[in-house]
């Protein structure tokens, strides 16, 4: 249908529309008009992606000079592919309606592992191997060697692409990962480099967060993206952690050992090159005197997305003299390495700030702040000069150099914690130096600074005000949308007690109580008897799940559950879990029914949807608080308190509730789906917890479903399931939660729609 969103003609590829989708597009349009950032929370499974795409594409078509590019970031590869497919649907609709040929170029970008078509390289299983092998075939000096010595293997696809691929633009169209590979095969071009090149002039780019947030990758891939882009972070409820992860470094003794060997290799290579090809080193030296001017020029003309690892000041200076020659630099790294080794030889925990660390390093081994800041750049240059084939081997020394640059660049927002052993095993020495980022805004700042509009959206962003605070930006719109429902297809229940009235909670003091574990078991057992098909249960941590499963086994609860359904359990091994997941789905598919025991914050809870019969009930055992004894977390909480005035408890609860909401939200997709959401902890009933759940879940939490016993839960659930099992037709929804174009245009419907969005 064709919609009129405040004067903008939007093609929407369906005959019907959910009211909240319309409302969502309104808010989105306002954000784009204001050229500002937005935070939008919309229930999962209400067609967020297609609304986003429809509106932004329409906007691009209407104002081609205002918005030139859409950068859509999602989290997982299947998500990315889904987005591209939805886009394809939209574009097909455009073509059908307007009759014009599609002139949009949209493509997905993923790592080499998902795009490589080289027969040998693509057969490798791990991403890192693929990257390394690819690099060894496509590095510039390898190709140079190939010129003089044709027996040196190179990648034909890359050569082809390099020869002609850049001149001939890729024809407009929608390219998913497989389409890119097909296209690459047809042309004989490398799809990966083709995609990386094509994103510069594509209208829509879909890729993963890391390409924008991780400075190490963003610098390579995304730095030339135009300023007039709209950036969308979908499923962004975890964005702060992604930012933090990309800026944090851990150094173990093993890292240092490997770094040591790296240094030795470097030394040997240098002395060898010196004998054979001293000119090369001299050339490098000259370049370094010139400084990083070129990069600086580029940034001034506003062409590049700035790299936070490489702050502006560095670019204006030449590399300091003390590390300019290759030997000196290696000597410098060696000294730094020795210092780190010494720091790891401790018997108690040390926590210090970056300035403290710099002061100490200056006193102990006379290393200045300035050369440290250039470490990463200098190492990269050296590796290029020395023609190191396999970069993967040098990951340890690269890590150290990044650490050096980061620690000397940022005096705020980071902390250094050195732990001599793991808390659980105090007898085994395993020293780790955590260089931990506490401020997610550091990594995302360049994104907000550079791009015209950044949209942060997800099904669970409540409370909405917290994201602008921790990411340090000022949104022009923040809105939360409810789900209009013709029938209440979600049923959140808070179970607080067992039938024996013992409180059910994963509180640390009582979580190992026999009664609590038994009650949890009984709850699962009862649910397994009444819920059809699939049940997913989430625990607060892996260790807790292991313990509970073991005691359920001893008490025979699992055996009784097996009478009703098959049991699959997430393990710490991803491959094993994948298999369990697949079998779980198979069992749901063939009608046997199954239970999946899983962990909040785990891989399953983050990336897998349990739609329709794959998840008719989700049970959240306990409140998924993060492990609060970790020093890194404590440091972060302290930082949040001091910098952003967010109380520790507020943040912890917020974090726990967003994960809980994320877990239970996995079960609902669309209004024809339905599912039970069972929160099995009495603490959920408290206002401070409940209030942090997304609005669309909160709305359906009545006072009558707050502190239930297992029996009451079973009664309510039975009632709910029986109701939901009745046929649900389109007519039932029409006019309430599903609108035709005429209905949408009526006056009172528009009034109703205005109430769907709640501004924070």
């Amino acid at each position: 249908m064709k919609l009129n969103i405040e004067g903008l003609l939007v093609y929407f590829p369906y005959d019907y529309i959910y009211p909240e989708q319309y409302s969502y597009m309104l808010e989105l349009k306002r954000t784009l008009d204001a050229k500002g950032h937005g935070v939008l929370e919309m229930p999962s499974g209400t067609g967020k992606t297609i609304s986003l795409l429809s509106l932004i594409v329409a906007y691009q078509k209407a104002y081609p000079l205002e918005v030139t590019k859409l950068v859509y970031c999602s989290r997982t590869v299947p998500e990315i592919e889904k987005v591209v497919e939805e886009l394809r649907k939209l574009m097909d609709y455009y073509a059908k309606q307007t009759g014009a040929k599609n002139d949009f170029l949209a493509l997905a970008l993923s790592s080499r592992k998902n795009l490589c078509i080289h027969p040998e390289v693509s057969s490798l299983r791990f991403g890192k191997e693929v990257d390394g092998k690819c690099h060894s075939l496509t590095a510039s000096y390898i190709r140079a060697q190939h010129h003089s010595n044709p027996s040196q293997p190179v990648c034909q696809f890359y050569e082809q692409f390099d020869a002609v691929g850049r001149q001939v633009p890729i024809p407009p169209g929608i390219y998913n990962l497989d389409d890119l590979k097909d296209f690459g095969r047809r042309k004989g071009w490398c799809p990966y480099f083709l995609a990386r090149y094509a994103i510069l002039h594509a209208n829509i780019v879909v890729y993963s967060y890391h390409y924008l947030l991780d400075p190490k990758i963003a610098d390579l891939v995304s730095k030339e993206l135009t300023k007039k882009s709209v950036v969308v972070f979908d499923e962004a409820h975890n964005i702060d952690n992604v930012c933090i992860d990309s800026m944090s470094v851990n150094i173990t003794r093993r890292t240092l050992d490997r770094c040591q060997t790296n240094v030795e290799t470097l030394q040997n290579t240098i002395s060898r090159i010196k004998e054979t090809d001293a000119a090369k080193l001299r050339e490098e030296y000259r370049r370094l005197v010139e400084g990083l001017k070129e990069a600086n020029v580029a940034r001034e003309t506003d062409m590049y997305l700035s790299n936070p690892v490489l702050p502006d000041e560095i670019l204006q200076e030449a590399v300091p003299g003390s590390i300019r020659t290759a030997e000196h630099f290696v000597g410098f790294i060696k000294r730094f390495l020795e210092y780190l080794k010494a720091r790891l030889r401790i018997h108690h925990v040390v926590q210090e700030s970056a300035p403290q660390f710099l002061k100490d390093i200056y006193e102990k081994v006379c290393i200045d702040r300035k050369p440290l800041r250039f470490c990463a750049e200098r190492l990269r240059s050296l590796l290029r000069t020395l023609e190191i084939a396999d970069i993967a081997d040098f990951s340890a020394i690269t890590l150290i150099s990044h650490f050096a640059t980061l620690v000397s660049t940022y005096s705020k927002g980071f902390t250094i914690i050195i732990e001599p052993f793991e808390d659980r095993t105090p007898t085994i020495a395993n020293p780790v130096l955590h260089f931990s980022c506490m401020d997610p805004s550091i990594a995302i700042k360049p994104v907000f600074g550079r791009f015209q509009s950044v949209i942060i959206t997800s099904g669970t962003l409540s409370p909405l005000d917290i994201y602008p605070r921790i990411l340090d930006f000022h949104p022009v719109t923040t809105a939360s949308f409810t789900m209009t429902l013709a029938r209440t297809c979600l049923c959140p229940l808070i179970v607080g007690r067992g039938n024996d009235q013992v409180a059910m909670t994963s509180k640390f003091e009582t979580r190992e109580d026999f009664a609590v574990i038994r009650n949890y078991g009984n709850l699962l057992l009862e649910m397994s008897a009444i819920v059809p098909d699939g049940i997913v249960a989430f625990f607060t941590s892996y260790i807790y799940m292991e313990n509970i499963v073991a005691s359920w086994y001893e008490q025979g609860i699992l055996e009784n559950i097996q009478r009703n359904k098959l049991i699959f359990i997430e393990t710490q091994d991803a491959a094993e879990t994948s298999m369990a997941l697949e079998k779980y789905q198979e069992a749901c598919e063939n009608g046997r029914g199954a239970i999946l025991l899983s962990v909040a914050r785990g891989k399953v809870s983050e990336g897998i949807d349990f739609v329709h019969h794959f998840g008719r009930a989700v049970i959240m055992f306990g409140v998924p608080y993060v492990y609060t004894q970790s020093r890194i977390l404590k440091a972060r909480l302290e930082y949040l308190r001091d910098q952003f005035q967010i109380r520790e408890n507020d943040f912890l609860t917020f974090d726990a509730m967003r994960h809980a909401a994320q877990c239970v939200g996995r079960a609902i997709r669309g209004k024809t789906d339905y599912g039970l959401m069972i929160f099995a902890d009495k603490r959920y009933a408290r206002a401070d917890k409940r209030g942090k759940l997304p609005r669309w879940i909160q709305e359906h939490l009545t006072d009558g479903s707050l502190n239930l016993t297992i029996d009451e839960t079973v009664q309510l659930a039975k009632h709910f399931l029986r109701q939901m099992a009745q046929p649900f037709r389109q007519e039932d929804q029409l006019g309430l939660s599903l609108l035709t174009l005429e209905q949408l245009q009526s006056e009172d419907m528009l009034q109703k729609i205005a109430q769907i969005a709640q501004q924070a």
Binding site: P78, E85, T252, I428, T571, E576, L581, K583, V604, T672
Partner: protein, 527 residues
């Protein structure tokens, strides 16, 4: 004695039955017992007729073996030879154990099939009562062509017999009971054993390897329950345990399953993440390289349990699916379909042409109403009723008596007399209401007779053309059957009817006599 030509598999002497000493013979197809000194069997059971055997518990004074038949009767043998009684009994039991399942399946299937057919089809049941129970034809004759006919139809509706799945909790169903003297008793049924074998093929293999040459069956299962294998939380260390190999095999199987990877990329956690952080980056704690060494024993056993549960569920699932056809769609296509499914919103779509699989119901009324006795009822839907009411209302509203065009009163009264009982127009009433006139039991009896006669005639006509001597014999037999039927069933019925109803209405007699007339034509045909 004809049975002597049979192969005798086992002879056990000094077996008592009904307090009488005798000898027990186990032959190829049946089991027989004859009292001492006589050369005939007083007890003889086909193996196919035996439902199960039961033995007296160990330690009881009397060592007995009981056979329960499908009919519900049972025969008990008492092994009386003091020295070897136990051994005798066990030998007999073992042999029976091997023999019974062979016959059991066939017999059971047939019996069940017949039973099912009779229960499902009341008409057939009545026919069976009329013909077989009243001994017009024998049961075999009755079933002879019916069963094959039916099985064809049956196999058409579902090509292969549905396989029975395995309960996931079958291991839990083997509840150990204390036997009172420091031991545990496990009760195993053939179903459970079957489940174990199907779920864990390695155990089956072990069984095949070891039983009966290395150990007895009992010993095998004792070891099974003692083994670490059965108790999944223990980590198997013992090498002497024959099941340690099974555990290893399972481990291998699990590993190969894991390395095979998953077919559906949507659930492949390994390739979910596009770009993982390099080692050393991130806030997550670094995974320790020393895995098992610093883990406590408890943690190890916990993860062993988890692994075993995953494996168990996977095996149970696989056992249920083993017979299924492999779906041979290419990976790529499957993935495309999955993707399309994942982005589809069927309620937003205009024509929600959802592909649904309609239930293939043989008797849809049974599905919606549950089993009810067959009654012909005419339902009018509420819609019909409402419609007709509204129509009537409508008519009534527009009804206007046209007072100018009424009949004269004399014409009206004569019409009324004509229409009252006994009037001119009410003469032929008796003929129309024949089904009200005849009581229902007579009607149903007639119906039964009719179907029975039809059945017999079907048998009879199926013999033509008479091409073999066997058929010829059958025709003759069927003719006599028909005659028998006529004498035993039809004549009495006819007489009864004549006695009761001749006076009322003669016109119905030809109708009653219809089968009889038909028979005569048959008689003429044969002669």
């Amino acid at each position: 004695m004809a049975s002597l030509s049979e192969e005798v598999l086992l002879v056990v002497k000094r077996v008592r039955q009904r307090k009488q000493d005798g000898t027990l013979y186990l032959m190829a197809e049946r089991l027989a017992w004859g009292p001492e000194g006589k050369d005939r069997f007083t007890v003889s059971h086909l193996y196919a007729d035996i439902r199960c055997q039961k033995i007296s518990p160990d330690g009881k004074a009397k060592i007995q073996l009981q056979l329960v038949l499908h009919t519900g009767e049972s025969t008990t043998f008492h092994f009386a030879n003091e020295s070897t009684a136990l051994k005798d009994r066990d030998v007999a039991k073992e042999l029976l154990q091997q023999l019974l399942p062979k016959f059991k399946k066939k017999a059971n299937k047939e019996l069940e099939e017949k039973n099912r057919m009779l229960q499902e089809d009341p008409v057939l049941f009545q026919l069976y009562k009329d013909l077989v129970v009243s001994q017009v034809i024998s049961a075999e004759e009755f079933w002879a062509n019916r069963l094959s006919l039916n099985s064809v139809e049956h196999s058409l509706s579902n090509n292969n017999k549905q396989e029975v799945g395995i309960s996931a909790a079958f291991l839990a169903d083997i509840r150990p009971q204390t036997d009172g003297c420091n031991g545990l008793r496990y009760n195993l049924t053939t179903d459970i054993i079957e489940s174990i074998f199907r779920t864990y093929p390695t155990v089956k293999q072990k069984y095949a390897e070891n039983v009966p040459h290395n150990m007895t069956e009992k010993e095998f299962w004792t070891r099974f329950f003692q083994s670490h294998y059965f108790h999944r939380d223990r980590i198997n260390t013992g090498l002497q345990d024959i099941f340690s190999e099974c555990a290893k095999e399972d481990e291998k199987g699990l590993k190969s399953m894991v390395t095979q990877g998953v077919k559906n990329p949507m659930v492949d956690l390994l390739s979910l993440e596009d770009k993982t952080l390099d080692e050393g980056y991130g806030t997550a704690t670094v995974p320790t390289t020393s895995n098992s060494s610093n883990k406590s024993l408890r943690e190890n056993s916990n993860s062993a349990i988890i692994k075993r549960f995953n494996h168990h569920s996977a095996m149970v699932l696989a056992a249920g699916l083993r017979k299924r056809h492999q779906i041979l769609t290419s990976l790529f296509v499957a993935f495309q379909v999955k993707l399309q499914e994942a982005i589809e919103y069927d309620d937003l779509q205009g024509d929600s042409g959802r592909k649904t699989i309609s239930l293939n119901l043989k008797k849809s009324d049974r599905y919606s109403h549950g089993p009810i006795p067959l009654q012909s009822q005419h339902y009018s839907t509420s819609q019909d009723i409402i419609n007709s009411i509204s129509i009537i209302q409508h008519e009534m509203r527009s009804y206007k008596p046209r007072l100018t065009q009424v009949m004269s009163s004399s014409a009206a009264s004569s019409a009324i007399t004509a229409l009252s009982p006994g009037g001119v127009l009410m003469q032929g009433g008796g003929q129309q209401t024949i089904n009200q006139l005849v009581p229902t039991d007579v009607q149903s009896e007639l119906k039964h007779l009719y179907t029975a006669a039809g059945e017999l005639l079907r048998h009879f006509w199926s013999c033509f053309p008479i091409s073999t001597p066997f058929l010829e014999e059958k025709v003759v037999k069927m003719k006599s059957n028909l005659e028998k039927f006529q004498v035993m069933k039809l004549r009495p019925f006819q007489e009864k009817i004549q006695r009761q109803y001749l006076s009322t209405n003669v016109s119905s007699v030809p109708f009653f006599a219809f089968p009889v007339i038909f028979f005569f034509s048959v008689d003429n045909f044969i002669s």
